[in-house]
């Protein structure tokens, strides 16, 4: 056999394509997937089911769930899993801002253990010393990383953490009796940095970027006032630009009596490098499902571990985890008697298994390892940045020639003008090579954007493969633009006709609606 010629591009990639019907179509009346334990004979004899159920509540409407044998159920979902491009099978660079890194399998094994899965959240503290210890220690390490004084793991996602931060702001000013109704953020912070505070009744004031991509200091200065409840910001923002003057911003807010809330969902470039507290923030949160490697699970369960400075602890949702003199851990409901406490953000004790995985991840790295994570995340990003910028059709606005932190928002505006091929076209075509590619949140402040974030887990070879593929596709845009515009070609389906998705007469949100539409 001749030497194998390897291309760095997966030209022959094809995603698993099963043409798997919608689950309802697989129903075979009579088939069973699993049986439920029967009612014990004695119990059954004691009662008549009709006496146990009020007539008006008894189900009369037939329950048209599919009827399938166990192996058919398994086959169905196995096939759908193969049609999903999870991080385990993929080079994760193309989901910029999402910090999709490697989630070690050993951590999953910990979380699958009965000593995790089979704990009821209301068990007495004495019976859950293990998980309490884990959460207590993780809290402590988070404090070390951020400089904050107390964390809560209740917020179960970054956006909920932002909502929790906004709630803390509300509590704080309610307590102080101050009426402040404005929250300042920036266009390159996450949409939730605007939306979650808005939910809590705050007016959102956006600061536009200056020519460096930093939030405009002068604009900020004139925005901050006694009406400013808080400043919510990510830093670096989605552009990967770190606002060097951040401390001046927080000082300004503090001067006016406001609070500073740091969106550290993606702290991946900063662990052990710089701390929220030192930049003047009063609170911050970390997405454990991003920076701390717990898998995203198609979108949760997750945790936005939220930390605050000492004076804000009393507003935290209850309980927090503490340790007694004798070394036992407990859920502390009494740490605060403030009637302005946020109360509760999420039921029970947050997503404990995510805390467990994050804890295991921290323990597999130590302080040195966390530092390495950040350094390599930034190295990978700047290596990629350099190589991307070597291409004349790719640009990235702001601070030319300077480093970015962990991600970059690029633009291919000039390329689109030249070829008519948009970032959306490229996105679809990248899928033909088994790669994700993300443009940006809306609206596109950076035209024809691409947001790439390599994290620390791809290798140099992975990064090179990603870039080579992207350049290959971009080149195709010159030579065969139709190919790109009509992509994808190797996915499970072809381009969607999207109109129906926004048309309330025709959208199909469930099988019930599909059946109705087709009179089935």
């Amino acid at each position: 056999m001749k030497k194998i010629n390897r291309s760095n591009i997966l030209e022959n990639f094809h995603q698993a394509k099963w043409d798997e019907p919608v689950v309802f179509e697989l129903s075979q009346p009579g088939e069973r997937g699993i049986l439920v334990p029967e009612v014990d004979k004695n119990i059954k004899e004691m009662f008549d089911i009709n006496d146990l159920l009020p007539d008006n509540l008894k189900r009369k409407t037939p329950l048209e769930l599919p009827e399938m044998s166990q192996s058919r159920v398994l086959r169905h979902f196995m096939r759908l899993s193969q049609e999903t491009l999870g991080a385990d099978v993929n080079i994760e660079i193309g989901q910029g801002t999402c910090t999709v890194k490697y989630s070690p399998k050993i951590n999953e094994m910990f979380a699958r253990n009965e000593n995790m899965t089979e704990l009821h959240p209301l068990q007495d503290d004495e019976t859950v010393q293990g998980i309490l210890e884990i959460m207590y220690k993780l809290d402590y390490y988070m404090r070390e990383i951020s400089g904050m004084e107390q964390f809560t793991f209740q917020p179960s996602g970054g956006s909920q953490a932002i909502m929790a931060m906004a709630s803390l702001v509300e509590s704080y000013f309610n307590d102080k009796g101050e009426e402040r109704d404005e929250i300042i953020t920036t266009i390159y912070s996450h949409p939730s940095d605007a939306a979650a505070p808005a939910l809590k009744g705050y007016k959102i004031i956006y600061i536009q970027p200056d020519e460096n991509g930093y939030p405009d200091y002068e604009a900020f200065k004139s925005a901050v006032s006694e009406k400013t409840a808080a400043f919510f910001i990510a830093n670096p923002e989605d552009t990967g630009v770190y606002n060097t003057r951040v401390k001046e911003f927080t000082e300004l807010v503090h001067e006016k009596g406001g609070l500073c809330c740091y969106d550290q969902a993606n702290a991946n470039g900063l662990l052990g490098v710089t701390r929220a507290k030192d930049a003047g923030f009063d609170m911050c949160f970390f997405n454990l499902h991003k920076t701390f490697s717990t898998p995203h699970g198609c979108g949760g369960p997750a945790t936005g571990a939220t930390g605050v400075t000492k004076e804000l602890i009393k507003y935290l949702p209850k309980p927090i985890i503490d340790k007694k003199e004798d070394g036992t851990y407990y859920l502390d409901y009494d740490f605060s008697d403030s009637k302005y406490s946020v109360g509760k953000i999420r039921s029970f004790n947050g997503v404990a298994q995510v805390a467990l995985k994050a804890y295991a991840w921290v323990m597999s790295l130590g302080a040195e390892g966390l530092y390495e994570v950040s350094k390599v995340a930034v190295l990978n990003n700047n290596y990629m940045f350099k190589k991307m910028m070597d291409n004349k059709w790719i640009d990235a606005p702001y601070i030319k020639g300077k480093q970015r932190i962990e991600q970059v928002r690029y633009t291919i505006e000039k390329y689109t003008e030249e070829t008519g091929v948009t970032t959306g076209d490229i996105q679809r075509r990248m899928m033909d090579f088994g790669l994700h590619y993300w443009a940006s949140h809306h609206p596109y402040y950076v035209p024809e954007p691409i947001t790439l974030e390599p994290t620390e887990t791809p290798s140099r070879a992975d990064i090179d493969q990603y870039i080579d593929t992207l350049l290959y596709v971009m080149n195709e845009g010159f030579e065969n633009p139709e190919k790109v515009k009509t992509a994808p070609h190797s996915s499970v389906c072809h381009q969607l006709i999207e109109d129906v998705l926004d048309d309330s007469e025709n959208w199909i949100l469930s099988w019930k609606i599909y059946k109705k539409q087709n009179n089935l």
């Binding site: 069973r32 009612v39 008006n56 999402c98 068990q123 947050g350 309330s504």
Partner: protein, 471 residues
């Protein structure tokens, strides 16, 4: 050459010094320290984080974690009767198999083409839950039931432009707290009383409180305390006559035998998916759902993503995509979209989808029956114990029952501590949450309990309450 960091770490391919140096060279640097040039010197952290040294080998890490986690006592080795919103149900092996498939476990924000399977599975999840509650629209899972309830309430508030919401008093304290915070500062919440004898909603109090400012009435069925609310038609009439929205919270494990609230007029239904194939996980298994009719006015109020089917350019082919994406804060309107959207509990939606599929209509029916038989049996048996009264609220109950302890000096906490000696996790203490019920606790019975288990509880409880010498 600078050596800070952890070189050749298995999770960090480019932590190898040689590769690192080549990459640094490529970008014109000579050490990792030169990265982060934008961070001002004064903000650079110069201390050492007080985090223990790494367990470098996976083996040692495993020993470490296992040792800690063995300090937990779990509900498989003990007999658990705690419920109260997180219930011990049997999780079919296939649910675990599927949610642990690496592809699902590690997917996130891919597009519909490369994550076709993810999109389909969520469309199916939506459709399956829609079937269960007999509604047409279900969103991807939200955080938990309280969150789903809170959002339902905010939806009603936006739709009706009214600022007051009534909530049945029979609700968990923490759920109320979550709703309160989520609805603040816009919505005023008023609790509607219940009848302590029957457990039913006090219709007079409902009537007294309902007025033209009321956006919605929210109650649960089965209630938090486990009994069934039977005055559903009356409630529905009162609410709808007032042009308010009727929001009903429901435990989905009851819907194999109970009619969905849709049938008695619910406009929005919410609840928790945890009973449907998700382990308790110390509370990490919660996941909320919401359902409405397919009316634009409802659909456009959902804050979270909704997946829909759509045709493709290839004749006869179809795919899946985001419906009315611009509703959400991910769309162009950001904070002017509906509430906000972010990572929630998607994986549990997959678990619930697998669960409903494998259970099918018959499984769900058997499940409901097994539960209702068990809890009624327990109600009858425990009532025989001297000092125990299970008939405080005399309406029929489904999964949970309230046990009131009489003639004892012990607190519920103390009783539970003694039950632990019998490897039993006793019911949730209601003493503070529902003081009107006296010294009481709420026990939960599901399909994991057998007659033998219930008798074991009865005997243990009898010993604890009535045998003095008992430890």
């Amino acid at each position: 050459m600078e050596k800070r960091g952890f070189k050749n770490h298995p999770y960090i391919p480019n932590s190898d010094l040689k590769i690192q140096n080549e990459m640094l060279k490529e970008i014109g640097l000579s050490s990792l320290e030169e990265l982060h040039e934008l961070i001002p010197e004064e903000l650079i952290f110069k201390g050492k984080m007080d985090i223990p040294d790494a367990y470098k080998s996976e083996f040692e890490l495993k020993k470490h974690i296992e040792k800690i986690m063995k300090r937990n006592e779990n509900c498989n080795d003990n007999l658990n009767f705690l419920g109260a919103g997180c219930w011990q149900h049997y999780v079919p092996a296939i649910c675990d198999e599927i949610v642990n498939r690496g592809e699902f476990l590690t997917a996130y924000g891919g597009e519909s083409y490369n994550d076709f399977g993810r999109f389909q599975v969520f469309f199916e999840y939506q459709s399956l839950v829609a079937e269960l509650v007999n509604m047409e629209v279900v969103n991807v899972p939200t955080m938990d039931w309280p969150q789903a309830a809170a959002t339902s309430i905010r939806m009603a508030y936006r739709m009706t432009n009214r600022k007051k919401v009534l909530i049945s008093e029979v609700i968990s304290e923490e759920k109320f707290e979550i709703i309160r915070n989520y609805c603040s500062p816009h919505i005023e919440i008023v609790k509607v009383k219940f009848d302590e004898k029957s457990g039913l909603i006090d219709l007079n109090d409902l009537k007294n409180n309902i007025d033209e400012n009321v956006a919605a009435f929210y109650f649960e069925n089965p209630t938090y305390l486990g009994h069934l609310e039977t005055q559903t038609d009356e409630i529905s009439k009162i609410v709808h006559d007032n042009k308010s929205e009727l929001i009903v919270g429901v435990d989905p494990s009851s819907l194999g035998i109970l009619e969905s609230p849709t049938e008695y007029g619910a406009d929005i239904i919410c609840g928790d998916l945890q009973p449907l194939g998700v382990h308790m996980n110390y509370g990490g298994g919660q996941a909320g759902f919401m359902a409405t009719r397919n009316e634009e006015k409802y659909v456009m109020e959902f804050p979270s993503r909704l997946f829909g089917m759509a045709p493709t350019v290839k004749e006869g082919e179809y795919g899946f995509g985001d419906v009315a994406y611009d509703r959400t804060s991910f769309g162009h309107h950001r904070e002017h979209g509906k509430e906000y959207v972010g990572t929630q509990t998607a994986l549990w939606g997959i678990a619930a989808g697998v669960y409903l599929t494998i259970m099918g209509p018959k499984g769900m029916k058997e499940l409901g029956e097994k539960i209702i038989y068990n809890s009624n049996f327990a109600k009858a048996e425990l009532n025989k114990i001297e000092g125990v009264n299970t008939s405080l609220m005399n309406n029929m109950s489904f999964k949970e029952i309230v046990v009131t302890y009489e003639n004892t000096d012990m607190t519920v906490k103390e009783i539970n501590k003694k039950l632990r000696k019998h490897n039993i996790f006793g019911g949730k203490d209601l003493t503070n949450e529902f003081p009107m019920l006296g010294k009481s606790a709420m026990f939960s019975f599901t399909e994991v309990h057998s007659e033998e288990n219930i008798i074991e509880l009865k005997n243990a409880l009898n010993k604890v309450l009535n045998e003095s010498g008992e430890a």
